[in-house]
């Protein structure tokens, strides 16, 4: 039997299907207004890509902020535990995980077995999260996917407040009016997020190897800004958005192996 994990975040739902050979398929869909529908759509898409039906799944575990609304799941598991599990499977030597999602950033410290020893999060402020990048991209009229490349070409970093994303938006507008190059503004935004996230990282006391995941890890400029701020290199998995869903699927697979449904 196969197992699946579904991670319902604030902006997207992710589904991962595991076979004995590893990841059979995965999908990412925008959450929209109904988390339960997004979870269903994500699972259906992953099932389609894997070429199987839901009857082939022996266990489905949900995680993420919207996990309680996933009615196809037989169990739920905390996001932190799933992130740790997924990260340790992808990179066995990982000891610290930095997850920057749409509306929160989390940092986990793992033990040698991938168990979570400690974690801290920034849930109170958008200025350490992906929503801030989305807002900046909109104001600057650039694609979210282009932020990284533009910032890496920057000559300097325009000062942007790390205290408040809403306040920072007005600073960005001021920079636009002052004809500051877009790349420099984006580099400043990345630095502001890196400053905010680094305090969360330091709360748990990071140990290498450090893995960065979550949708924001797709932004290479953000990864570099965080590396510069923290003073060490970050490993980024091929599909950084699906780490928690992968962890949920791994836990589902373990439950299957133990004969639990």
């Amino acid at each position: 039997m196969l197992a699946a994990g579904i991670d319902v975040g604030a902006v997207s739902a992710k589904a991962v299907i595991l076979s004995n050979g590893g990841i059979a398929a995965y999908s990412i869909v925008v959450t929209g207004e109904e988390a339960s529908i997004a979870a269903r759509l994500a699972l259906d898409e992953a099932l389609r890509l894997a070429g199987i039906t839901q009857d082939d799944l022996g266990q489905i575990i949900a995680t993420g902020i919207g996990k309680a609304s996933v009615d196809v799941a037989s169990k739920t598991k905390s996001e932190v535990v799933c992130l740790g599990k997924g990260a340790a499977w992808l990179t066995p030597e990982v000891r610290t995980v930095i997850d920057i999602g749409a509306e929160s950033s989390k940092v986990l410290r793992l033990n040698e077995k991938g168990g979570v020893e400690d974690f801290a999060s920034n849930d109170k402020c958008a200025s350490g999260t992906g929503i801030f990048l989305q807002a900046a991209a909109k104001i600057l009229e650039v694609k979210l996917a282009d932020l990284g490349e533009l910032s890496l070409a920057a000559r300097s970093k325009a000062p942007v407040s790390g205290m408040c994303a809403v306040f920072a938006e007005s600073e960005i507008v001021s920079h636009i009016h002052s004809e500051v190059p877009k790349g420099d503004i984006i580099a400043g935004v990345h630095k502001a997020i890196a400053d905010r996230v680094s305090s969360v990282v330091n709360r748990v006391g990071p140990r290498e190897v450090v893995l960065m995941c979550g949708g924001v890890a797709r932004n290479l400029g953000m990864v570099r800004a965080l590396e510069e701020r923290l003073g060490f290199t970050l490993a980024v998995p091929e599909n950084p958005e699906i780490v928690a869903a992968l962890g949920a699927a791994l836990i589902a697979k373990e439950a299957l192996a133990k004969g639990m449904r």
């Binding site: 902020i65 739920t76 598991k77 905390s78 996001e79 932190v80 535990v81 979570v116 801290a120 109170k124």
Partner: protein, 409 residues
């Protein structure tokens, strides 16, 4: 972790009477003011209720009232009134709510004051209350509480600090005599201290009973009972209440009755509470965990001492105030946490940092490190306001608690 709704919870019966107790106290105060010329004194933590009751004064703890308003879902209009008046949104929410309530002109559970008394126990209270004094045009007295720096200077509260604070208390008494027209009645002071001790002894007994597994009293009951410590120290009805509560908790222990069946985790809560989401304690219990102890009560009734001596009132009161755990170096708080973790078999700590409180957040890293290194007990730090719900995401908070409890195993 699935969140079952089927976990059976056993709340205490005695605490369900706290709301009535508080209402009756407010009614008593208003009646005494209207018919007997009693004075109403608003005061702030750490407070002097036991001394105020030696006069014909009814003390009201204003932070507690802000907590009531928040728990009832009514605080935002008062915060907005204060903000509209020009009180900074970056200032303490408790003070903001107090000013807003003053501007609203409503009495109900908090009769208008004839005088204000506070200490310098936190960095902003004293100045934040000048607008309140101006609004009511009432006398305002600030008692200077010296820091307890015992960890740096030795094992005991320094005697010169005790003597200094005793003098402060004598000056407070002069202020009270002047503004009531009374002379301090020593026997009335002794009686107030005796009633305060009854309250404290019962609370200390409850603390010891909590060492039992399963824990007989949960977080919500503790928070509600702490309100009695804040408001009714020195009052006979407050002491009666706490003894009834102690007896009910003891009965539970005798029966082996816990807050929940199958208790898996025992949590210590540091810092203030999320007053507008007391249901959060239920969420812990849904997940098999009990918030066994919170530390905020230690501003009012020490679990390891801090009792008053009716025959040596001012010195004992000075020692109690100086040695409370938020006053001075944070080693005091670490030592308190250390003892509670050991006594109550705690396996996880939640440390709440209130957004606008500059008093309570500073020790978070030190306590977290100490508890991890000495006991292997992890701490989750949460950043949230204690009475203002406007920046709060209850789903996110529950998700973090689930994360934490799953991490505990």
């Amino acid at each position: 972790m699935a969140v079952p709704n089927s976990v059976k919870k056993f709340a205490l019966e005695t605490t369900s009477g706290v709301s009535r107790l508080m209402k009756e106290y407010a009614l008593r105060a208003r009646k005494a003011r209207d018919e007997d010329g009693a004075k109403i004194c608003w005061h702030w933590a750490v407070n002097h209720a036991e001394i105020l009751r030696a006069f014909n004064i009814y003390p009201f703890m204003v932070e507690l009232h802000s907590g009531f308003l928040s728990a009832k879902g009514e605080i935002v209009k008062y915060l907005e009134l204060a903000e509209g008046w020009g009180f900074s949104r970056d200032a303490c929410t408790l003070h903001r709510a107090c000013l807003g309530h003053s501007l609203a002109g409503e009495e109900a559970m908090l009769p208008n004051p004839d005088m204000l008394v506070c200490t310098t126990s936190c960095d902003s209270t004293a100045k934040a209350l000048f607008p309140v004094a101006d609004h009511f045009k009432v006398p305002y007295y600030i008692v200077d509480l010296p820091w307890n720096v015992q960890a740096a200077e030795g094992p005991a509260v320094q005697e010169h600090r005790v003597r200094y604070y005793q003098q402060q208390l004598e000056d407070l008494i002069s202020f009270l005599e002047k503004n009531t027209g009374e002379t301090l009645d020593q026997e009335r002071l002794r009686e107030s201290f005796r009633q305060a001790n009854r309250l404290h002894y019962a609370w200390q007994d409850i603390y010891k009973l909590k060492a039992n597994s399963p824990c007989p009293m949960g977080g919500k009951d503790e928070v509600v009972a702490t309100g009695v410590l804040m408001q009714l120290a020195g009052d006979r009805q407050g002491a009666d209440f706490m003894e009834r509560l102690r007896d009910e908790v003891a009965e539970r222990v005798a029966r082996g009755q816990g807050v929940i069946e199958n208790e898996q985790h025992r949590i210590l809560w540091l810092g203030p509470y999320i007053a507008y989401d007391l249901a959060l304690f239920d969420h812990f219990e849904d997940l098999g965990a009990v918030v066994v102890k919170a530390e905020l009560d230690q501003m009012f009734a020490g679990i390891y001492g801090g009792n008053l001596d009716p025959d040596n009132p001012l010195e004992s009161f000075a020692r109690k105030h100086i040695s409370y755990m938020y006053n001075g170096v944070y080693e005091n708080r670490i030592e308190l946490a250390r003892r509670v973790v050991r006594d109550l078999k705690i396996d996880g700590i939640v440390y709440m940092c209130a957004f606008f409180c500059h008093l309570l957040g500073g020790a978070q890293r030190a306590i977290k490190d100490a508890m991890s290194e000495e006991f292997g007990v992890p701490t989750m730090v949460i950043d949230v306001d204690n009475v203002d719900p406007r920046s709060y995401n209850p789903d996110m908070m529950r998700s973090r608690i689930e994360d934490f409890l799953e991490m505990l195993g």
